[in-house]
Symmetry: C2
Subunit: 492 residues, 2 copies
């Protein structure tokens, strides 16, 4: 290895350590940290962020990366990718003054509190001025990063490398029409309340989830299960990927599907080839790829008939009262299609409509076609048009998500990209594994595990989402596979 | 505040953040970290240690402290103490080359593995060469720090500021004779197996411990209860002090006394006056003071009759089968005096004899009166002489403790100093609170809590152990109070 590369990887190693520390501080905050420690913890996190920023903007780091970038053509495929991703990160950091970073951080911190307060009190006015500022600073951010591009294109590129508004419109416009049509063709039906039929004790459910996630392939020698208020997965370091669930004792489906979703993220991170892991600071960089793995496991596997044919017996082992239900009852309840207000509780058919609504509103605000004042009204009228329902409470309307208060504008589309990508992987997987249903019915997840390990997880951040789709399925993202999956499952 | 002081406290703040991070990495390693993450974690910890060392030996830090040290007389009491403790730490760090630190760290890491292996296999030979090196490097360490002092005095000063071999001999020699005499006067009696009478479910015991520790005064808004293999307490940051217990389902007394012991440490750290907390990087610096609070709560309160008059009912609430025992049964079992091999399981009467044995052997090795080869034999013959028993297994003899393999030579005496100090606090407390037994019997711990908060915990690291004893009890450490307590409790 040449000296500059050696230097580069040793600097990258430092970044990874600091990222690990930052991830652990966050994880602990959500799991074990006592309530009054929050002020001290904020300072510790701020200190680590400052350290990372100072490392990433130090001449030593900048010069090393620029020097490697000059000899880009002579680098190996992995080194190229690593240097490219580091340069992206560095370029972003060096374009922002530390004053701007600090001001924006303060606004976001205040906005999150205001959002929480506004949602509790059903009072948009509490959040409005800070939402205004968040959108303003987001626009300024995009201008600072690259004022030759559309604002929304800069934001999208942050979350999904290379993605643009034009590409998204080409994907989302027909998708919206197709889904609306499908939704109109599905009659409403009622729930059997399988997963609400009793109290589901946390300690029992924990054991159930451990058995389930291990059976699917999550490795507890490289992972652990935590308890949090909002489920999430996090990579703490090498061989250290944690999944965290919320136990809802009155609604087991929430707990279980949340756990399977996070396992989808976790199993991905656990199975990145260590050699390819050199390409990034931490988690796999494509959010669409990441979400494709969680949504595929949660929905296409975890809400499937074969899965429940096997899994109903495991469930009944832990909860003998569930003997009164069969796998079809469970399957039926887990796949109810409903016109509802809340994105995170929505089904596979309506989910993407919730996202497209947000995508349209974000653009309209950034393009100054909609004022911050008008968001609640615009939200409700779009909701009525797309889903045929109008939220009565603002907490069930435009205040339902935390994202905007965190400054995560342009993030929502990656959820839909994840769903669509999942459809494309699933199509290819079922072609390669026509017998997968028989396997899963018998509790054998090896076909699933090995295919995804070989074709997706293995590569880490080596490719963008489209590059990997092209390599493995032969074409870039094509929504038709997701539509086909939805039609086959929901349109009889 | 003058500019240099301001600079100093901002540098100290950085150290505190790094210490917090280091503590959290360790805590997580012992609680939630998956097994295969250990290699990555070691690297993360090493990185943080390197950061701390580089900060503490940077000219900016050194100059700031030296400049404050030059104006020492003009500083406030708190600033004086803070600068003094920082200078101690800095002087130690700058006297050691990074090569020496690295070599010694490697030896200790290997020695811990070898110790564990040797203990498992009952084979002293596996540990011997690394124990030899550990003692060699410890001697070199003491020489590097201050070659004008006795080796053992340098080591003692690390763990208990200002303590010397001569002082310890003056304390330990009469203590050994007194305790041996007391031990000889106590007839052996048998256990009623109160705490081994059933299986004690971990989840139930956890709730019991939460109620118990909160009742005594541990604040769960500033703390949390974790599960580990060896109980310990750790300060993660401001308002963030965690206690960790081991659940032994076949022996509840182990679990409970361990929890109360760690609470003693935790309640101390939770109640340091934030103003005085400026005096140190992290935990209260005197190990004797720290241990005095854990041993006092564990033994003088937690193994007392009034405590069990109240607490037996709480225990019976969680474990109804315990109704067959009364508080006297519990008290009796918790205070059995036995001639046994294992320090950590020994009673209040014999505990200090275990310590004195180690103190004598450590000195003999450092003075080259005993060779590493001869340790097992010397151990056993001293054990026979002092306690009248000879271990058959080496794992119950000189291989029982982890300390030497960690390079913690000169550490053991602080345990006994803790016991003796506890005796002196307890004496003063009972004079000030003649009604304390009535209070505790009724589950009222406010008398205990407030006295210790005001007179001990409050001061943090502002004073050395002897200074604080003098200030509050009117005299420096005097073992007679501990002896008096033991005689009153055990000699009828």
């Amino acid at each position: 290895m040449n000296k500059t590369l050696e230097k580069y990887y040793s600097l990258l190693e430092e970044m990874k350590h600091l990222n690990s520390i930052s991830a652990l501080l966050s994880l602990d905050q959500e799991t074990n940290m006592p309530p009054l420690a929050i002020e001290g913890r904020s300072k510790q996190m701020g200190y680590v962020e400052k350290l990372i920023h100072s490392k990433i903007t130090a001449p030593e780091y900048i010069n090393t990366i620029n020097s490697l970038y000059d000899q880009y053509d002579d680098l190996s495929e992995i080194d190229k990718r690593s240097v490219l991703l580091s340069k992206r990160e560095m370029d972003r950091s060096t374009k922002l003054s530390s004053q701007f970073v600090e001001e924006f951080a303060e606004i976001k911190s205040k906005a999150q509190n205001a959002w929480f307060d506004a949602k509790q009190k059903e009072d948009y006015g509490i959040f409005k001025p800070l939402l205004q500022k968040t959108f303003e600073y987001t626009s300024r951010y995009a201008d600072l990063i690259d004022n030759s591009k559309k604002i929304y294109d800069v934001l999208l590129d942050d979350y999904e490398e290379g993605m643009t508004v034009d590409q998204l419109n080409n994907i989302f416009n027909p998708l919206r029409d197709e889904l609306t049509q499908i939704l109109n063709s599905i009659p409403e039906r009622s729930s059997k309340n399988v997963f609400k039929s009793q109290k589901f004790d946390k300690d029992i459910t924990r054991k159930l989830i451990k058995e389930m996630t291990a059976k699917i392939g999550y490795d507890y020698n490289k992972g652990a299960l935590g308890e949090v208020h909002h489920p999430f997965e996090t990579r703490i370091g090498d061989n250290d990927v944690r999944i965290n669930v919320k136990y809802q004792e009155d609604e087991l489906s929430y707990t279980l599907t949340g756990a399977i979703h996070e396992e989808g993220h976790g199993i991905y991170e656990q199975n990145v080839n260590p050699e390819y892991f050199k390409t990034s600071f931490g988690e796999v960089s494509s959010l669409a790829l990441h979400e494709s793995q969680s949504r595929l496991l949660e929905n296409m596997i975890g809400r499937s008939k074969p899965f429940w044919k096997y899994f109903i017996k495991v469930l009944q082992k832990y909860y003998p009262e569930m003997n009164k239900f069969n796998y079809e009852d469970a399957y039926s309840d887990l796949n109810l299609v409903k016109r509802s207000f809340i994105r995170t509780e929505s089904d596979e058919v309506t989910y993407n409509l919730h996202i497209i609504l947000r995508f349209e509103i974000e653009q309209a605000i950034l393009n100054k076609e909609v004022k911050i004042d008008e968001i609640p009204e615009v939200w409700n009228s779009k909701m009525q048009k797309m889903l045929g329902v109008t939220p009565k409470l603002i907490s069930e309307g435009c205040l339902q998500d935390v994202h905007w208060s965190m400054g995560a504008i342009g993030y929502f589309p990656t959820y839909s990209l994840g769903n669509l990508t999942a459809g494309q992987w699933f199509n290819k997987f079922t072609i390669d594994h026509p017998d997968y249903e028989k396997q899963i019915e018998s509790g054998d997840f090896s076909g699933y595990f090995n295919w995804f390990k070989t074709n997706v997880w293995n590569y880490g951040s080596l490719y963008t989402c489209n590059q990997l789709l092209k390599k493995i399925t032969g074409e870039e993202l094509n929504p038709k596979y997701f539509i086909k999956y939805i039609k086959e499952k929901y349109v009889k």
